[in-house]
């Protein structure tokens, strides 16, 4: 079941999101590793479309939450309303009760609202008025974020960035892809007729399979060497946390599964490293962009 369905999913998604196969794969890897995804880019490059496509293909129940600066936690979680008939409060679930959430422009909301979502992400449940409500399973958040230099943003603090397994950037499409986009039919219509390639059950199965991918001692050595380097090289303000190391391993496993391998290779680690570590590391001094920084991290650590 694994390989053909995964490749079909990727193929279907790339028919709509043109020229972004790598990002689609990362997205899928993040999902298979049971992590949440942060997409950081300018408005209009296809963030929402990507989330839509994924929800549709994976057969997940989809909700979109548009974050604004006047948003309150209740707008996300839901509210308890007094029911006159029963004489008690009844909980009205908010938009967070869905299998796939698109949290749009998450850094436009105040930290208070942000943290409501991020807590839900971490706990897989929400607490409102003393009652705990479990979130659906699978539960997958794709948050988008405008680059923080834009006006009217509350940048996510590091501790909350850490909740996201990966952060990716979509970037502008290349020339050919853009031309095809301009010439082709409306993306919205295409999504409407998209058939799911997976069921929620399949997805759970794949997530389990990803978790079972073999990682050899040599690979653990490599991951530890990478993490060690971020802590000791002085290149970064602070090194990667053990949670980040776990995230790296989980993402690499999922990447190996997508590549059709039964064991993780250093290539898998290197492929996911920029997305997994990029938002968790701050350069110590002035240095080039996150991509360059990650490249130099990879090239600084020899394979053990």
């Amino acid at each position: 079941m694994t390989l053909p369905t995964i490749s079909r999913t990727i193929e279907q998604a790339s028919r709509i999101i043109l020229g972004k196969q790598a990002q689609i794969r990362l997205c899928l890897a993040c999902l298979l590793a049971q992590g949440h995804l942060l997409i950081e880019d300018l408005p209009g490059v296809g963030k929402t479309t990507l989330a839509h496509v994924l929800a549709k293909l994976l057969g997940l129940q989809f909700q979109r939450i548009q974050f604004t600066s006047d948003m309150l936690p209740a707008d996300i979680i839901g509210v308890s309303v007094f029911d006159r008939d029963s004489g008690s409060f009844r909980f009205h679930p908010g938009p967070v009760f869905a299998q796939l959430i698109l949290a749009d422009e998450v850094n436009r909301a105040t930290p208070k609202a942000q943290s409501a979502l991020l807590e839900a992400m971490e706990e897989q449940q929400v607490t409102a008025e003393g009652a705990t409500h479990a979130l659906p399973d699978p539960f997958f958040v794709i948050a988008t974020q405008n680059p923080s230099y834009q006006i009217g943003t509350f940048p996510l603090p590091e501790s909350q960035l850490d909740r996201f397994l990966m952060r990716i950037e979509l970037g502008y499409p290349d020339r050919a892809a853009e031309r095809a986009l301009l010439q082709g039919e409306s993306r919205r219509d295409m999504i409407a007729i998209l058939e799911p390639t997976l069921t929620a059950g399949d997805l759970r199965e794949l997530q389990r399979a990803a978790g079972a991918i073999h990682a050899a001692d040599a690979l653990f050595d490599y991951i530890q060497a990478l993490v060690e380097h971020t802590r000791t090289s002085g290149l970064f303000a602070s090194g990667l946390s053990p949670r980040a190391a776990l995230a790296l391993l989980a993402a690499a496993r999922a990447w190996a599964l997508i590549a059709g391998r039964d064991a993780v290779l250093p290539e898998d680690v290197q492929a996911v490293l920029p997305s997994v570590a990029g938002h968790r590391l701050k350069p110590a001094g002035e240095s080039g962009g996150a991509t360059r920084l990650m490249r130099s991290l990879i090239e600084a650590v020899a394979l053990p």
Partner: protein, 649 residues
């Protein structure tokens, strides 16, 4: 308890170490005991192969009782070296059959180590050392097996070999620097030296010719001065003075306080390494210019040590080949040298009288007697006919076939009958220079007997009738003199020159072993250390040097181990090799580059290699990062290496 799984593997390893340990003992053990041990081993193998139970305790008690009784019956005592070794052998073989707990395994291993040491009681040759080493490697591998079930057979052996190799530097330091003592640390029991061969204190027809059939080394000599010609190399041993008509015996002689003769003429000096022969006498090239430590010159000019030679003995001597001792000899000695048993050999006495009457001068008489020997058509042979009561008569006039002891014996009889003081000297004659290490090797086959006659104003003159009859004996050795077809030690036969060549080399190696390993005594140690630049080494400095060197070796080994960490993996080496091979083409792997990425890059640059490199990278990934670890990682790595080697970038 049934043996299953890892317990079976452990049992087989223990059995193997016991087998390897006991095999070299077969020579010295009673035959029944070797058979017994083999039987116990087979029993264990049977149990292991068929997954049976170990024998019950009562049965073991019965077998132990039987074995102990057998040893006691064979040796009549539980004390001493041989019964001790025999008892341990029996216990070791039996312990195998009751290795239930790991502790039992350790006991077997410990006993194995001890038995390997015990091998050196019997023999200290290179072969024994080699066998012991083999036993130690196997036993060490067994110890590894007892502690880890992870490794395969070859890996266990390799690890064991590696551990022993790491011990080698320590062994060398301890060997060279451990302060040596003159005497062994413990006394060996009296049965330790049975079976040595050599000249004895009596001589009957046949005693020397039996000895000459042995190719064993009697002693080795290294000359410092010139090397005398073969015909001059008479190595003086026991001097026989008393004759009873059949047997010559050593007479009692006085000790001399110092060398009684004037030394003059050509002089050479040499170092002689005598193999143990369990007799007190030493051999010296005629005539010695002094005496070694712990030895005296006797009144018959024989060198005698204070104690029997039970260990290989090395001494320095000078030799004066032209000296004739005894110009003013004691009357008593001369008198003794004229004694003959009455009523024996009338025909010889007759011949003596006629020679006497023809030659008034002593020297002339000797010459005439020798001439008689050379004219009488004697045959030099190793298998002379048996002689009756008047052995000298029969030999001189009837059979005329004999060996050096016949010639010497009859010549001395003839001389005494003619009124000249004479005696038989036994020893060795000649010897062979080993071209490999330039040591002169004197073997039992060079054993010889000759005569010594006293002439007034000249002293004792050496007269060798054998040299007259068969000059080739003294010039070229036994093989030249003995007629074709007679039995000779294999290596002495001319047709087997290649055997001789091999033997020269083996002897040289053996000699090196004897001189430097077994003969490494306090004196050698001092010599060596002084040559290495240590000023007057004593046990103090040696101990310090030993500790310092051991510490340095430890550091070096630790450093090496650290440097090798992570690099030792054969698979990694194989993978590195690929990069090294492709480096000249500018395609060295970057340190951070993953195997598949690397293969991809190589494939783009060199499409003709793409398929092969991709396949190698895939297999490497499987081995290094894959889920199923291969059964034999070394083998897989070797296969990978051979595929990498076949690659021609």
């Amino acid at each position: 308890m049934r043996l299953a799984g890892s317990a079976r593997v452990r049992a087989m390893w223990l059995a193997a170490s016991v087998a390897v340990t006991l095999a070299p003992h077969v020579n010295t053990l009673p035959t029944w005991l070797s058979g017994f041990a083999a039987l116990m081993l087979l029993w264990l193998c049977w149990i292991v192969l068929h997954g049976l139970r170990l024998p019950p305790r009562w049965l073991m008690l019965v077998v132990v009782g039987g074995a102990v009784a057998g040893v006691l019956l064979t040796f009549h005592s539980p004390l001493g070296k041989d019964p001790g070794v025999a008892l341990l052998t029996a216990f070791l073989a039996l312990k195998l059959l009751e290795t239930r707990a790991p502790r039992d395994g350790y006991v077997v291993v410990l006993l194995c180590y001890f038995m390997q040491l015990a091998q050196f009681f019997a023999n200290q040759s290179i072969a024994t050392a080699g066998l012991t080493l083999l036993g130690t490697v196997v036993t060490m591998a067994t110890l590894i097996t007892l502690n880890s079930e992870r490794l395969g057979t070859t890996e266990r052996l390799r690890l064991s070999g590696l551990m022993l190799a790491q011990a080698v530097p320590f062994m060398l330091v301890l060997f060279v620097l451990f302060p040596r003592v003159d005497k062994p640390l413990w006394g060996l029991p009296s049965d330790a030296f049975g079976g040595s061969t050599g000249l004895s204190d009596s001589m009957t027809p046949g005693s020397i010719s039996d000895l000459t059939l042995s190719g064993a080394i009697a002693f080795r000599v290294r000359f410092d001065g010139f090397t005398p010609a073969a015909a001059q190399r008479y190595w003086r041993g026991p001097v026989m003075n008393d004759f009873d008509g059949r047997t010559w015996r050593v007479a009692s002689a006085r000790m001399l306080a110092k060398v009684p003769y004037q030394v003059s003429g050509p002089r050479t000096s040499y170092e002689l390494t005598l193999e143990p022969h369990n007799r007190p006498w030493l051999f010296a090239l005629e005539m010695p210019g002094g005496t070694p430590d712990n030895a005296t010159l006797m009144s018959d000019y024989q060198l005698v040590s204070r104690t029997p030679v039970r260990n290989r003995l090395r001494y320095m001597l000078s030799a004066h080949t032209a000296v004739r001792p005894g110009r003013s000899e004691d009357a008593a000695i001369l008198e003794a040298a004229l004694q003959l048993p009455p009523d024996f050999n009338p025909r010889t006495r007759e011949l003596a009288q006629s020679l006497r009457s023809e030659n008034a001068d002593g020297a002339a008489l000797i010459a005439a007697a020798l001439r008689h020997f050379s004219l009488s058509k004697f045959t030099y042979t190793l298998s002379p006919p048996l002689l009756g009561r008047d052995s000298v008569d029969e030999f001189l006039f009837d059979t005329r076939r004999g060996f050096c002891e016949h010639f010497a014996s009859s010549f001395v009889f003839l001389m005494r009958a003619a009124g000249m003081p004479a005696r038989v000297v036994t020893g060795y004659q000649g010897g062979e220079i080993n071209p490999v290490d330039d040591y002169l090797e004197v073997r039992q086959s060079d054993a010889h007997a000759w005569a010594e006659v006293w002439v007034a104003n000249q002293g004792w003159l050496r007269a060798d009738p054998t040299a007259t009859v068969a000059p080739s004996r003294v010039q070229g050795g036994l093989a030249m003199a003995v007629p074709e077809g007679e039995p000779l030690p294999l290596a002495l036969r001319p047709a087997f020159s290649w055997v001789r060549e091999i033997r020269y080399r083996l002897d040289a190696v053996n000699n090196g072993w004897n001189q430097w390993i077994l003969g490494y005594n306090p004196q050698r140690q001092k010599e060596l250390l002084e040559r290495l630049g240590m000023q007057s080494p004593d046990w103090h400095t040696m101990t310090i040097a030993m500790s310092v060197l051991c510490g340095l070796i430890m550091l070096a080994l630790a450093g090496w181990a650290l440097a090798q960490r992570g690099r030792l993996d054969p698979l990694q080496r194989a993978w590195e090799r690929l990069s090294q091979k492709l480096a000249p083409a500018g395609l060295a792997r970057k340190a951070w580059e993953g195997p598949l990425d690397y293969a991809e890059r190589v494939g783009l640059a060199r499409p003709e290699l793409a398929a092969a490199v991709r396949e190698i990278a895939r297999d490497y990934c499987g081995l290094r990062y894959g889920a199923g670890q291969p059964a034999a990682p070394d083998k897989a790595a070797r296969q990978l290496v051979s595929r990498i080697n076949r690659l021609h970038p």
